[in-house]
């Protein structure tokens, strides 16, 4: 299946004088038959990337290749959108409201002048795979959001596209249908072997689907790598915060006999860090990135009989200021005793606002960034 290559793509919107650079020198390559993710906050330019690949926008500068064929270059579309053989699932699914679901899926096939029998058998096949047989003759407005989404996927896949584009396809679904939809899309992509690109602001979409990810922030590519690599070793602060919730705190590095200790505040210290990268850096002040799930919260009374691995090191005493339930855990906002430091942590147990807790951090998961440029200090 088709391999996509973006080469120094820049996209400028607006008139002269009021120009807005949506993409700035974006380059990456999408391997054939892979599931590729484009992750970014809203306004970062990720939808523009997708629209340029689809042919709905023309790159102001730069080149776009499908395999070795140049399809768009320097403000010209060489292959128009309707002949790129791309299937696309829009954020709002963009189904045709006046046609039945069947006719929606048949639309790209009718345009291609397939025979009625061929269309019928193709739709039956897709309806079987996607589980939409029962609602195939209803209109999009008469079925649930999850079903509409499946119809949109079926329509995008009907013409056997070389490339499947998914633009925030799950953002309009509730949490349960989201999981179903993700696994369905992944299975379908795998079995058809089609190259797929998903654009999303939600790291969980990307992590559950993509094999390789490009992180986009403010129109530039922050990092390209596998999801695991990105999560554990984000190149800089911007990439790290795009990938999910993370606490950034300033700290002073102090060398002592047992390794390094980090002084985050007068009463918040992390001791015994074995981390060579820190010694090479002349700066003694750094930024630390801590993900909420790399923190462990314990009510003070229970700390005496804790059993933990040695990667967990104490950070000190904190006071809970608020707690929200999210997906099986509590997201707890914590303050140190002088209320100078605020940290969000995940907790399995109920923590009430005002409770005093002991905080532990997984030191292997700590991420260190330079204070001035925000670049990752490699381990």
């Amino acid at each position: 299946m088709v391999k996509i290559k973006l080469e120094n793509i820049t996209k400028i919107f607006g008139k002269k004088g009021k120009e807005f650079k949506a993409l700035d020198n974006v380059s990456f390559e999408i391997p054939g038959s892979s599931f590729y993710g484009v992750l970014g906050a809203s306004g970062a330019g990720k939808t523009t990337v997708m629209r340029i690949i689809a042919g709905l926008e023309t790159p102001t500068m730069g080149k776009l290749y499908f395999d070795d064929e140049l399809v768009a270059a320097d403000n010209k579309d060489l292959v128009p959108v309707e002949t790129r053989n791309v299937g696309m699932v829009f954020q709002n699914w963009a189904l045709y409201p006046h046609l039945s679901n069947y006719e929606n899926i048949a639309f790209p096939l009718k345009v291609r002048r397939w025979t009625a029998e061929a269309i019928n058998s193709r739709i039956n096949e897709l309806a079987e795979i996607l589980g939409i047989k029962e609602i195939i003759h209803k209109r999009p407005g008469q079925v649930s959001g999850g079903q509409q989404q499946r119809v949109a996927v079926a329509r995008a896949l009907a013409k056997n596209p070389a490339l499947l584009l998914l633009d925030e396809p799950f953002s309009n679904l509730d949490a349960n249908s989201k999981d179903d939809a993700r696994s369905l899309v992944r299975e379908v992509q795998k079995s058809l072997g089609v190259t797929a690109v998903i654009v999303s602001h939600d790291p969980s979409d990307i992590f559950s689907l993509a094999q390789e990810v490009a992180v986009i922030s403010l129109g530039t590519v922050g990092q390209v790598s596998t999801p695991e690599e990105l999560y554990d070793r984000p190149r800089n602060i911007k990439v790290a915060s795009t990938l999910g919730e993370i606490n950034f705190v300033d700290a002073q590095v102090k060398k002592n006999s047992g390794g390094y200790s980090l002084v985050i505040a007068d009463d918040v210290k992390v001791k015994g860090i074995d981390f060579k990268g820190l010694g090479n850096d002349s700066a003694d002040r750094i930024k630390i990135g801590i993900r909420p799930e790399d923190l462990m919260v314990h009510k003070e009374s229970q700390t005496s009989n804790l059993i933990m691995g040695k990667e967990w090191v104490p950070m000190g005493e904190f006071k809970a200021s608020s707690a929200n339930y999210s997906q099986g855990n509590f997201m707890v906002a914590l303050q140190d005793q002088k209320a100078t430091l605020k940290i969000n942590a995940l907790s399995r147990e109920v923590v009430n606002p005002g409770d005093m807790v002991e905080l532990f951090v997984n030191q292997e998961k700590l991420k260190f960034f330079t204070l001035d440029t925000g670049e990752l200090i490699p381990k």
């Binding site: 309707e82 045709y96 006046h98 345009v111 291609r112 999009p140 407005g141 509409q148």
Partner: protein
């Protein structure tokens, strides 16, 4: 009955009363046209306008004979004008919606201004143009003249309806492989059908009722349009009231019938639009 229910009931009754009163007010002219058109010449002079008198089909009969040709003349230019203005206007509106540029917004502004120009001030150049094209005193001349004034109207009205279409729906059709014209035919037309029908009805009625342009562009009486022919019933020396009422009734019947027939599709189109995508 609870208090809340009572309020609901009262509002329902008030709504209906207001609707009935307004409906009756609007029906009074049509009622007057009908009953006075069905009076005899002496009956129409002897009875008040809103009261019925002895029934006679005489005036109606005379008027139908006299007006059948002008009504046909009217239909011959009104229908092409309304159809072409709506269709070409939709194409233009679709283009303006699709391609946004400085040039296009300038052209669009000119179109909007064109719809506000009173056609009377263009009279002399219009007649000269129609004469030099060799279509003076013909249906083609009328179609030509009315298209000048109602193509912009069609484009303007349709661009209001087309602006409601979600852009992604059209883009999705492009990604599906449809050409611009296929998108227009298979997506834009069905989705803006209610708008197209209202535009069609609006232009049809405006054109049908237009008196001035056919008056100056048609010189032979066999080619007179319905609106112009109506004038002959109010003479300078006296008016046959039953005949002029009957004529007005007959002449307004055709737009009325078209409106009633298409009004149903209008509602159906709106419903199709309402059941559209949730996103």
């Amino acid at each position: 009955m609870t208090h809340k229910n009572m309020g609901h009931q009262i509002r329902h009754i008030v709504n209906n009363v207001v609707l009935i009163v307004l409906g009756a007010l609007w029906l009074i002219p049509a009622y007057a046209l009908l009953i006075d058109g069905l009076k005899t010449t002496s009956g129409v002079l002897a009875t008040p306008v809103l009261l019925p008198a002895a029934f006679s089909f005489g005036a109606m009969h005379i008027v139908i004979d006299a007006l059948s040709r002008p009504i046909l003349n009217s239909l011959l230019y009104v229908l092409p004008v309304a159809v072409i203005s709506t269709f070409v206007g939709s194409l233009a509106a679709f283009y303006f919606y699709k391609v946004t540029s400085f040039l296009n917004s300038t052209i669009f502004t000119i179109i909007a201004i064109a719809t506000f120009v009173p056609y009377q001030i263009t009279l002399v150049p219009l007649i000269k143009m129609v004469v030099s094209l060799g279509i003076f005193n013909s249906t083609y001349g009328l179609i030509f003249a009315f298209l000048i004034f109602y193509l912009p109207t069609g484009a303007l009205l349709m661009s209001i309806f087309i602006a409601v279409l979600p852009r992604t729906t059209l883009e999705s059709a492009r990604v599906d492989g449809a050409s611009d014209f296929t998108v227009f035919r298979r997506i834009v037309i069905p989705l803006t059908l209610p708008g197209m029908i209202s535009t069609f009805i609006f232009i049809l009625i405006e054109t049908w009722n237009n008196f001035f342009i056919p008056l100056v562009l048609i010189s032979s009486s066999s080619r007179r349009t319905a609106a112009v022919a109506l004038l002959s019933y109010t003479g300078g020396y006296g008016t046959l009231y039953n005949e002029s009422f009957a004529a007005a009734f007959i002449a307004s019947l055709i737009p009325l019938v078209i409106f009633i027939l298409l009004g149903r599709y209008f509602v159906r189109g709106l419903m199709a639009f309402g059941s559209g995508a949730k996103g």
